[in-house]
């Protein structure tokens, strides 16, 4: 197992390298450059050229990439072209809110979806099955920006129950309750999508298992229906559930770009949009690198969890 993990980590290095190359060149294909966004419109062409030269942006793209890579290997992610702060510092400031928002959304989504999925499978084709399946389609299909604006309109703008956006009240004390109030609406939007997706996987995976012979054996032992469903059956339907969780984990870091934008949540998703509009190459590259690492890590974690859930799966 350990050997397998080490091998997977070694394979990750060339993959990450490829990801950074692609990202760097694609970003540079976009029209405009950081200098256009940072100097004032009245600057002379000479001033622009001087700034470009100072930032190294007049060099060929491959040379720029080489500079970036060398700096990266020295542990330096550079500084933001737009705010002039070190990128590491900016990332640190945005990771926390995203992990908080996405972590809670994932947990809420799963806590609701997994039991509902099990109930749907147990009571297939009942009214509760139809109701939950209907809601899950709704959750998957509705665009986040639309649902987001909808809940803002109803709960923030009309009912005034919750704030419209951001993470803390401006000038407030930043207390837990304040943050919680700001979390409710974006979590509602995100958990709807996450949960809707999960319900369908849990339901179909449980349905696959419920007719199996070993559940009849468990029943013949005199076990209660609760144990049969939640111990014997659920353990066997974990593989698809783990797959979905593995796909969801990168969201923890990548954030929900659209939802963070709608609620002005100061996380990585919002940072991504801001970096794109200001052509902030160094920040974008750092976000991409972080996202790529998370995806690779989540994939590895998924494979390890497969082996934990199903003893028949072994890597050696």
């Amino acid at each position: 197992m350990l050997q397998y993990i080490i091998r997977r980590i070694l394979i990750a290095i060339p993959v990450l390298f490829g990801v950074t190359v692609l990202n760097f060149f694609i970003i540079n294909l976009a029209p405009g450059n950081p200098v256009d966004m940072m100097v004032n419109p009245s600057a002379t062409p000479e001033q622009l050229a001087a700034t470009k030269h100072a930032l190294g942006l007049d060099q060929p793209v491959w040379a720029q990439y080489w500079n970036w890579l060398v700096q990266l290997l020295h542990g330096n992610l550079g500084f933001s072209y737009s705010t002039r702060e070190p990128v590491t510092q900016i990332l640190m400031a945005h990771v926390g809110p995203t992990v908080l928002l996405m972590g809670i959304s994932l947990i809420v989504g799963y806590l609701i979806a997994i039991p509902l999925g099990i109930i749907c499978a147990r009571k297939q084709n009942s009214w509760i099955d139809y109701l939950v399946t209907g809601f899950s389609f709704f959750g998957i299909s509705i665009p986040h920006f639309f649902l987001g604006l909808g809940v803002i309109y109803v709960f923030a703008s009309k009912l005034l129950w919750f704030p419209t956006g951001s993470m803390n009240t401006l000038g407030g004390d930043g207390s837990f309750i304040d943050t919680f109030n700001h979390l409710v609406l974006p979590v509602l939007v995100l958990a709807t999508g996450i949960g809707g997706n999960m319900v369908r996987y849990v339901r179909s995976s449980m349905l696959d298992v419920l007719g199996k012979d070993y559940l009849r054996t468990a029943k013949a032992k005199g076990l209660s229906q609760f144990l049969i469903t939640n111990k014997h059956a659920l353990r066997n339907s974990l593989i698809p559930i783990i797959t979905v969780i593995g796909i969801d984990i990168p969201l923890l870091i990548g954030g929900a770009i659209v939802t963070e934008q709608v609620f002005q949540w100061p996380g990585l998703g919002l940072l991504t949009i801001q970096s794109i509009t200001s052509r902030d190459y160094s920040t974008l590259m750092a976000i991409n690198l972080l996202a790529a690492c998370t995806v690779l890590f989540a994939n590895l974690l998924t494979d390890i969890l497969y082996a934990v859930a199903d003893p028949r799966i072994r890597y050696d």
């Binding site: 012979d213 009849r216 054996t217 029943k219 032992k221 199903d310 003893p311 028949r312």
Partner: protein, 345 residues
């Protein structure tokens, strides 16, 4: 030997989109403590459904709609799910046909064994574990201390069936239902498993309902035999009478279709012509009518009942050919009862 189980004219129906389908109809047999009865018959004749009916292990859309199943002093046909949970695995346990799929692949052998032990015998975790190891040794599993922490996929089919037997017998059931326990195993393993079951039966005096379509297994294991055809018992008697003096045309057909080692090489094996009627359109009269060499006109319209005849042992047949003998038996029996009554009064 007290009476343990009395299945009386049960009818099991499945609700389907096209209306109810009767899978088992008027199945009756009884069983004393420590006795082994074999249910024989071809695939689809309702052997398994009968056993699953006793255990309430039918699918959600199947249920016993008529008749009674007396087990000790309870009527299982009308028992609630909570009552059944106390009986399953404790008083009555079951072994299934497919050892490869009957164990949960993601739980260890020990997990699956101790579950029932802890539930019904109130053992602690440690006690249950050492008892489980003891049971594994009893069913002849080598290295029981190691195997208990293994997952089922590490074991062969024969070993898994041994684990199933250990599991079924761990709570000392009064009745064991074995649904074709050797069908999926190869012949040498079959013999081992049958030998093991016999040994354990003799040690613990457990009654067994053994479901099989293999008359060799019947000869090996049974005290009593119920021959089933198309959801009904057509003949019931003890194993010696069945092989010496089979009566029902279906049983006779079965006996003739067993290959014998002394048969000449070029002899064609007998077979019963035709096939079993489907559960959706059962004939009104005798269900064996289409395939019976002795079919009479009245067999088409009238339904024969399972009735006892005079023989060395108890012997019941569902066939009009033996109507005279059945009537004789009834008359004699009535006279006997009458005489007894007079004596006692």
């Amino acid at each position: 030997m007290g009476e343990l189980l009395k299945v009386d004219k049960i009818k099991t129906e499945f609700q389907t989109d096209k209306g109810p389908v009767t899978s088992v109809d008027e199945v009756s047999f009884d069983l004393k403590e420590g006795e082994t009865i074999c249910l024989v018959g071809e695939s689809g004749c309702g052997k398994s459904v009968t056993s699953l009916s006793i255990m309430h292990l039918l699918d959600r859309n199947g249920s016993v709609t008529e008749g009674s199943i007396r087990f000790e002093d309870k009527d299982l046909a009308h028992a609630s799910e909570a009552e059944m949970r106390k009986i399953r695995g404790n008083d009555i346990s079951m072994i299934f046909q497919e050892p490869m799929t009957s164990l949960n692949p993601v739980l260890t052998i020990g997990d699956q064994l101790t579950e029932g032990i802890r539930l019904h015998m109130n053992y602690s975790r440690a006690e249950a574990r050492s008892y489980a190891i003891e049971m594994l040794k009893k069913v002849g599993i080598p290295r029981a201390e190691g195997i208990i922490d293994e997952y089922p996929h590490k074991l062969s089919g024969g070993m898994r069936q041994r684990v199933m037997i250990a599991m079924a017998l761990s709570c000392k059931p009064k009745l064991l239902i074995a649904d074709e326990p050797t069908t999926a195993l190869d012949v040498t393993i079959q013999a081992q498993i049958l030998k093991l079951m016999k040994k354990l039966r003799d040690e613990s005096n457990t009654a067994i309902i053994l479901i099989t379509h293999d008359l060799g297994v019947v000869a090996e294991m049974a005290d009593k035999v119920a021959v089933m055809y198309a959801g009904q018992v057509v003949e019931e008697t003890d194993v010696y009478t069945l092989f010496d003096n089979p009566k029902h045309p279906y049983t006779l057909g079965l006996m003739k279709s067993i290959p014998h080692i002394t048969n000449p090489d070029d002899m064609r094996l007998n077979s019963i012509p035709g096939s079993v009627p489907s559960a959706r359109n059962m004939p009104k009269g005798c269900r064996f009518y289409d395939r019976c060499p002795h079919a009479m006109k009245r067999c088409l319209a009238e339904k024969p009942e399972l009735k006892p005849i005079e023989d060395k042992q108890a012997h019941s047949i569902r066939c009009f050919l033996y109507e005279e003998e059945e009537k004789d038996y009834e008359k004699k029996h009535a006279e006997k009862q009458h005489a007894e009554k007079e004596v006692s009064s």
